[in-house]
Amino acid sequence: MRALVAMSGGVDSSVAAALMLEQGYDVIGVTLKQWEGADGSMPTAGCCTLSDAEDARRVAAQLDIPYYVLDYVEEFTKAVVEPFAAGYLNGLTPNPCIECNRMVRFSALLERTEALGCDVLVTGHHARVVEDGDLYRLAKAVDATKDQSYVLHMLDQYALSKIRLPVGEMTKTEVRARAGQLGLRTASKPDSQDICFVASGDYRDFLSERHPRAGAPGEVLDMNGNVIGEHAGTAGFTIGQRKGLGVAVGSPRYVLDIEPTKQTITIGTYEDLLTTRCVVTEMSFTDRAPGVGDRVGVKVRYRSEPVDADIVAVGDRWEFTFVEPQPRPAPGQSLVMYVGEFVLGGGIIIDDRSSVTAVL
C-alpha cells in the first residue's frame, strides 16, 4: 500500500508521514506550492513559505521517502484566493481554508493521489475518520483544543474512504513528543495561525494592496441610520466584530450589518446582534443527510463550540433555528452540523435580511 502525505513543513504532517511509514505504507511526501510572488518564487513570510517547503523536504529526507513539490498555484488562486477577496469585498467573511480543502486538497490532490498510484491521501489535520459498518464517519479530534473537523466537513464518503488523518488520534503534546523522539526538525516548530497567502498576517493589507476599493472609507451607522462614525473600508469588518469599530458609545458595540455597496456598516448592542435563525446554501454531507425536525449541534465559526439548532427547512436553502438566541453568524462562514463527536456535513451561511428584521 502506498500513501501520499501532504507535508506542509509543520510538525503534524511530519509526524503523519512517520506514522504511515510505521504502519507499513510506502510513503511519498508532497508539498503543495499554492501561492507565489510576482516572480514565481514561493513566499518568504506567512505560512506555506519556501522555508516550510525546505522543512518538509528535510523531514522527508530524514524519513528516507521520496518528496516532491507540486504546483497548485493556478487552482489555489482561482478556487481560494480570488473568492476570498471577492467575498470580503461583498461584505462576507470567507473561510479560505475550507475552500482550499474543498477545491484543492481533497479534490485536485485527491485525484492526483490516484494518478500517482497511491492508495490513500494523508494530511496532518486534527480530526478522525471512523469506520462504522460500511460507513466512513468524520469525527472530532482526540485533542479538542486542536480539532479541525470544522474545516473538513465537506468530505464525502469517497473522500473519507481515501484519506487518513493519523495525528487526529493524538493530542498535540503527543504529536510534538513523537516528533521529538523521532528527532524531526519540526518538533518544536510553532503552529501556523495565519491565512497562508497573507504574508503580513493581516488580511486587510492583502485586500487593500490588490483592491483599492477594500480601503474606501465610509460611514458607521447606528440602528436608526444615524451616522455615528467613520470606518476605513467595509472589507475590514465581520458581522459580530466588537473590536476596532472606532466608535466610543460607553457600552460595547458589535457589527450588525455590512453594506459594501453603500460602504456603510451598522453597529448595535449585543442584544441587537442576537438571532435564532441561520440560512445556509451549498450543503454537503459526510454520509446521510438529516431532515426537517432533526436537532443537531451547529458550529458557525471555527473557534466556537457547537450549539443546538433545529432544522426547519431543507432544499436549496437550509434553515436552522437556534434553540438559544446566538450572535448573528457571519455570512460567508460555514455552518457545520455535529451529532456528538461526528460531523454530518455543512454549508455556507448566507445573508438573509429577513433574519435581521425578524430579530429587530
Binding site: 506550492k33 518564487s41 519556501l50 516532491y68 513539490v69
Partner: protein, 377 residues
Amino acid sequence: MTIYLDHAATTTIRPVALEALDDAYARFDRNASGLHAEAREAKNALEDARERAASLLGTERPHDIIFTGSGTESDNLAVIGASLASEGKVIAVSAIEHKAVLKAAESLTRFGYTVDTIPVSSSGVVPVGHAVSGEEPQLAVISVMEANNEIGTIQPVREIAEAARLSYPGVVVHTDAVQAFNSHEVTLEATGADLVSLASHKFGGPKGVGLLAVAPGVPVEPVIHGGSQEAGRRAGTYNVAGIVAMVAAMEAAASDRAGFCERTRAERDALESAIVAGFPGATVTARRADRLPHISHIRFPGVLAENLLIRLDMAGIAAAAGSACQSGAVDPSHVLSAIGFTDEATGECIRFSFGWDTNQGVGWRAARTVLDVLSEL
C-alpha cells in the same frame, strides 16, 4: 538501479576530472595570487590549464579565457559585461535562451537598455537575419545559444553572427555553448561568436566552475568586482582545483566527441522509436530539426508530465520536465511556449538526456519502463 537520463541537467563527473580535482587539492591548494613558492605552483597549474583550455577553444591567446564560477555566471558576464562595455543600448536574445541569458538581459532594462526577443520557428530554430525593432537600434549584444537545453535544437549561430555584424556593426555576438560541447566542436572560430560560455559540469567536470571565451579586442566589463584576477575581468580567489579538473574533462570530452555522438544517438533513437511505437500519439519535439544527439524531448498527449516524472522516479528512471523552480515544483517551460506549444501541451512533455557514460541498451530498457509506467496511469 536507477537509469539516469538527466545528463543535460548535470552529467557524471569524468574519472580524469575527479583525479585532477583530488590531485590539485593534494598538491597545490594555495591562493594562486600569492608571492610564495606554493602560490607559484598553484598559479602555474592554473595557467597551464588556461593554455590548454584556450587551445581547445581554438585560440593561441590564453587570456582569451576567463574562468568563472558557472555557466550561468559566464552568461551573465557575457550579456551584462559586453552590454556595459558597448555604446549600444539594445540586447537581442532568442526566445529559447537559458534563463541565465534572459534574466541577465532583463536585469539591464532597469538601466535604460531594451531587450529585443527573437522569435523562433515551431521547429525550435532561431532565424538568421532578425531585424531588431526600433528606429536605428544600436545593438550592443546578440545572444543565441549553440543548442537548446530542453529540446536539443542546434542553432545557426555562425550565420546569425555574420548577418548581425553586417546589419549592426560593432555588435558583440554571444553564444551559450553549454549543452553543445560534448558533441560539437566549440571554438570561437567554429561558432563565429565573440563570446562563448561553457559550464564544466555539463561535460563531466566538477560543478561550480565555468568559463567565458572572449575573442580578441572584445571589451567586457566585469560584473564581479574585487581583486585583479582574470586580468581584472572576474574578481575572486582562483578555484585552481576546479579549473584544472574542468580542463581535464574538456580534453576528455573533446577527444570523445565522435564516440559520444554515436553512443548517445543510438540510445536516444532506440528510446524514441520504442516510445513512439508503444504509446499512441507520443511525439518527439523538433524531430526533424538538427538536434543534439543526447537530448530527447517527448510529448505524451493526455499525460500530466509532473505525474509521469514522479512515477518514473519511483520506477527508477531519472528524467526532467521544464525546469525546477526554487521550491522544486516544475515551472512551465518558456522554450515550449516560444515554439508554439499550448499550456496543455507544455505540461505533457518530458526530457530524457543521455551522457558520456550511458551504457548500451539503456535507451531501450528505459523506454520499456516508461511504457510500463504509462500503462498504469
